[in-house]
């Protein structure tokens, strides 16, 4: 998959990320499913040019505006300050070790949280009784600020990688659980009746209808989970330990090194974007059967 396809996938995904279960129901198809190009808009190349231009303008403003207004660089470091600090961090602060640690924990937490969330969603979706019994507690835990558990996990598990992993798993878990459960509850009754009429067993209906039908909702959940995973790992690193980009933020803060804090934030954002792009690429593969205009 080429870079442009990746960005296209990310863009498509971004437009939908605000509606986690909007795609749980299969889209109503028409007789003419050909993708309709957006009308009344500029061409894609001029949009790209505009975006790039805006980015360059923003960086230029960042570089020259604060000094011009007399803002000292320890409050807002310029872009070149950040670049210098980045080089120093690579050489002196073992930056790559911190990046690898953050990426590893974010990815592992994302994968484990997704698997657990999806599994739990399917189990609850299969059993109305368990779902009804547990739903108030699920709602409660969903609302509870999961990152607030981080200090607790550190007290329990110590100053190592485990509390960060557990926080990440916990924040990823719920949106995926909720999305999968919702799609199980809204599965097309007629499709299930069709499978029943063909004498399919409960497990066959699950694997052949409910699981594939839940894919759009699961993918929407994964997209949300990908962004939350970075938040989870960051909070874990901010609160405890001595590795990771979140730790570099507190370390930089302690040294009044604004540039280090900025660089860590930029890198954390990049980690999130990469994770999100990976999900978007997977989604484009899994949901290939949904016409593009409808995504």
């Amino acid at each position: 998959m080429s870079a442009s396809e990746v960005t296209a996938a990310v863009e498509r995904a971004t437009t939908l990320s605000a509606e986690p279960v909007a795609r749980a129901a299969p889209p109503v198809t028409t007789d003419h499913p050909a993708p309709v190009p957006p009308t009344g808009l500029a061409s894609p190349s001029s949009i790209l040019l505009g975006s790039l231009g805006f980015g360059i303008l923003f960086l230029l403003a960042w570089q020259f505006l604060p000094p011009a207004l007399g803002v000292p660089s320890y409050i807002i470091p310029t872009v070149t300050d950040l670049a210098h600090e980045f080089g120093r961090m690579v050489q002196r602060e073992n930056l790559m070790v911190h990046v690898v640690s953050t990426v590893t924990i974010a990815s592992a937490g994302f994968v484990i949280g997704s698997l657990l969330g999806a599994a739990m969603g399917y189990v609850l979706g299969m059993s109305v009784f368990i779902e009804k019994v547990l739903s108030p507690y699920i709602l409660g835990l969903q609302i509870a600020p999961k990152v607030a558990f981080a200090p607790l996990f550190i007290m329990w598990l110590g100053y190592n990688a485990w509390p960060k992993l557990v926080v990440t798993v916990l924040v990823v878990f719920f949106p995926i659980l909720v999305n999968v459960l919702q799609s199980m509850k809204t599965a097309d009754r007629d499709l299930i009746n069709l499978a029943r009429a063909y004498s399919m067993s409960r497990m066959q209906i699950f694997w052949k209808i409910e699981v594939p039908a839940s894919m759009p909702a699961l993918m929407a959940g994964l997209r949300i989970g990908a962004t939350l995973a970075v938040i989870g790992v960051t909070v874990g690193e901010l609160v405890g330990g001595n590795t990771g980009l979140g730790y570099l933020i507190t370390f930089g803060e302690g040294q009044a090194n604004t540039a280090m804090v900025f660089n860590a934030i930029v890198l954390l954002t990049l980690v999130g974007i990469v994770l999100y792009a990976v999900v978007a690429v997977i989604e484009a593969r899994v949901l290939h059967y949904i016409p593009r205009a409808m995504r």
Binding site: D190, A197, Y198, Y289
Partner: protein
């Protein structure tokens, strides 16, 4: 019409549902008796809410009658039955599967090899003239083609009877005519026993051998009309026959539609 064995028989079938208040009962159909013989095409017409679809669910074994018996080839229907194929207004194709894989769907609950399944699915696609679209996904097909794919899936299980529940009602007028002809041709050439549930009176006349008219709820069969017209395999020929119009007028009268409109 040759007198042949009945494939489907409903004897005094009543179905009551619990009303939304949970106490009183709602009678959907009452003492419905009907018979569909081998190779016959029977249409059921009636006002909306007369329990036409209840009949379908009962015959498909998705629901049980409150009273009466349903026999398929002389055997009582106790639950979902592999000898019944049914089709709804929605094509119910699985969007994540190719057309040929969709046609295989009904065969997957059975102990047949993958290769044989594929072979049978391709044969049905050929019969429904969709062989060129075997590897397409449903969204790539038009509404009419999707309904034909749904028919192929229904026929793939080699059902003793096919139940059609308003399969053309979501289509535009022209696609509908083309599809009616396509279905009629496929059904006639393979002598498939069919029960069509519809609210389209002309459709009932141009496609069937016999029409059963149902009353409003509780649904009862109030009239049986044998359709004595040629060309059952060609609804387009029938639609232009003057006598088709007479049948429709007769149905309009027996459903009292004129009085209701007034």
């Amino acid at each position: 019409m040759l007198k042949t064995a009945s494939v489907l028989e409903l004897a005094g079938v009543t179905k009551r549902f619990k009303a939304p208040d949970g106490v009183s009962a709602l009678t959907a159909i009452e003492r419905v008796s009907l018979e569909v013989r081998a190779g016959e095409f029977v249409a059921v017409v009636g006002p909306s809410g007369c329990g036409k679809s209840t009949i379908l669910n009962l015959v498909a074994g998705l629901d049980r009658p409150s009273e009466g018996r349903i026999l398929l080839n002389g055997i009582p229907v106790e639950g979902p039955n592999p000898t019944v194929g049914f089709m709804l207004q929605k094509d119910l194709l699985l969007p994540w599967r190719t057309i040929v894989h969709n046609v295989e769907f009904g065969l997957e609950a059975r102990a047949i090899s993958r290769a044989e399944r594929r072979q049978r699915a391709l044969r049905e696609l050929q019969r429904c003239r969709l062989q060129d679209f075997a590897q397409s996904y449903p969204y790539q097909l038009s509404g009419g083609m999707r309904q034909r794919a749904a028919l192929a899936r229904t026929l793939a299980i080699e059902p003793a009877i096919v139940l059609l529940d308003e399969p053309f009602s979501a289509l535009d007028a022209q696609t509908k005519l083309i599809l009616q002809k396509s279905f009629a041709r496929t059904i006639a050439s393979s002598a498939i026993t069919t029960l069509l549930i519809t609210h389209d009176l002309m459709e009932a006349v141009i496609m069937s051998d016999r029409i059963l008219v149902m009353s409003e709820r509780p649904g009862q069969i109030i009239e049986e009309i044998p359709v004595d017209l040629p060309d059952r395999d060609d609804p387009m020929a029938r639609i232009s026959a003057a006598r088709a119009r007479e049948y429709v007028d007769h149905l309009l009268a027996s459903l009292h539609l004129q009085e209701k409109a007034a």
